[in-house]
Assembly symmetry: C2
Homo-oligomer: 321 residues x 2
């Protein structure tokens, strides 16, 4: 007998996230009630994953659950916020118990790791679409914005972008790689790591921050435009992982790092006078970030290689073109 | 040339809702930033509308925009909350400008009417699915819950349930009606009225409240279960509109009122000792609500007619097929 919506929620989502004492009423009423700590600003994000668009049809359910939360966590990380409460709007063609159990497990593991309580949501029938809404907090005035950068600010990126794009290509069999590289890159697509701790620690250091979800070069352009600057990135400085280089070669690895997507890394600008304090406070070798360029007065987003401007065919994912 | 996601958001959603001074950062960053007033609890709801499930394919875009917000407003009304900020996760097959303009206009009109700012969202490509997340506030401890009812509490419902179900049947040509009734009933489906003012005013009066979205009888059962009581409804007391009676007859009108759906009315319980104060404070003829029954100790949800228990299935719908 098929599950009712009530049974489905009770069985898979009632205790899905972290337990938090600031949740006054969670799942089961018309809306959730939470106590926002005084002297904070509320930070709210929402992101949708659509089957066949944001992940291949037939992706592992646990990965879909993980990614649906991870992409929203990454948005909060880019604001320097701490995550607290999530809502899940899940549209599924049918209530398949094995799929739901895996999906909920993937979501729950990441939620608990970041102390996020699942406080509500809506479950509907239709084409597989997952929307998570994530709420968190930041001290007043301390949020990292896209618009705070100035010409001359140094530009940094966390992690090794491009891995997820290669992982997706491997998932979709548009690319082949030897087993170790394949396992690593696939994992970077299926289970991205939102940089929550780094985002919080960047408060006071970074002048501007954005999460890299649609491709490093395109997202750098967004940060620069919001800051009313341009941006230059050094091709040679773009960090790439060793498995990615093994899979596609160094040239293609850097290209993928600049134009791929689904990285969920942080791209941030730092005023030149603040760089040394940040490097001391957050040692790059421990926190995993790399200087890749700088904001500049002239508009545009350019990648430089040995003094010449490189041309890229597409600089980020566009949903509608 | 097709719209980019950026252009689409700028053109249709940037100024879609009310302007609010408590929005620190709205659309355009990784997440929105808002200032929650001190000494309030945060109320959060999310509801999804799927094309072909929650509205007929080809529904007017303005109605879809209105309903996507209305169903969430209604959840907040049922908590006694005041709405403040919304996020929109919109999944559309393609960026059709005329459709988007109408959709945004439908959403914006209702948002402005209730002083709701659209602070963020996500626009993705895929099968038409609309998820709104709505945030609001309520004084500490004052939220109306489903679980506060006690045996003996009087039960009230706002408006005239059943209209929207008939309106949907008319939209889908499963039912016919003369022009005036048709126009009224269709409007009740396409543009439901969330009972925001009533919800807020019920604080201190109602012991429990739920919004009627899945059918009055079923939702009364949910309120009763959450309150660990049962519920009895008097068939003769169920309020029905004159256009609904004209369209389907009185018997069928009450059946539809009990088993229909999409009403977005408030169903609320009031302790017997508090009824007269409520009737004085909120005159029913002005506020539009009706006493239809009571909570009782014995579990279950029953409809009584001249002393006997009526049986309902979903046959209310089948009369039209």
């Amino acid at each position: 007998m098929p599950l009712t919506e009530f049974e489905l929620i009770e069985r898979y989502f009632r205790d899905c996230g972290a337990a938090r004492s600031d949740v006054i009423a969670g799942i089961g009423d018309d809306a959730a009630l939470v106590a926002v700590p005084p002297d904070t600003e509320l930070v709210v994000a929402t992101d949708t994953l659509v089957a066949g668009v944001h992940f291949p049809e037939g992706s592992p359910a646990a990965s879909i659950g993980h990614r649906a939360l991870a992409v929203n966590l990454s948005d909060l990380a880019a604001m320097g916020a701490r995550a607290a409460w999530a809502l899940l709007a899940l549209t599924i063609p049918r209530a398949e118990e094995a799929w739901l159990a895996e999906f909920a497990a993937g979501l729950a593991a990441l939620a608990r790791a970041h102390r996020v309580a699942l406080v509500g949501g809506d479950t509907t029938r239709g084409p597989l679409t997952v929307t998570v809404q994530l709420l968190g907090t930041v001290p007043p005035g301390a949020a990292l914005r896209r618009c705070g950068g100035r010409a001359g600010d140094a530009l940094f990126v966390s992690g090794t972008p491009g891995d997820a794009a290669a992982g997706l290509a491997l998932e979709e069999r548009r690319l082949a790689a030897e087993p170790l590289a394949l396992a690593y890159l696939r994992e970077r697509f299926l289970r991205p790591t939102p940089r929550m701790a780094l985002g919080e620690r960047l408060r006071g250091h970074a002048s501007a921050c954005i999460d890299v979800s649609d491709g490093l070069l395109g997202d750098a352009g967004k940060l620069a435009r919001a800051s009313q600057t341009g941006v230059e990135i050094s091709f040679a400085a773009v960090p790439v992982s060793e498995p990615l280089v093994r899979a596609v070669g160094e040239e293609q690895a850097r290209t993928l790092a600049l134009t791929g997507g689904d990285d969920y890394e942080l791209l941030f600008a730092v005023h030149p006078e603040k760089v040394s304090a940040m490097l001391a406070d957050l040692p790059p070798e421990r926190w995993g970030y790399t200087r890749i360029g700088a904001l500049r007065a002239a508009p545009g987003a350019e990648v430089l290689r040995e003094g010449t401007v490189m041309q890229f065919s597409h600089s980020g994912y566009q949903h509608f073109t």
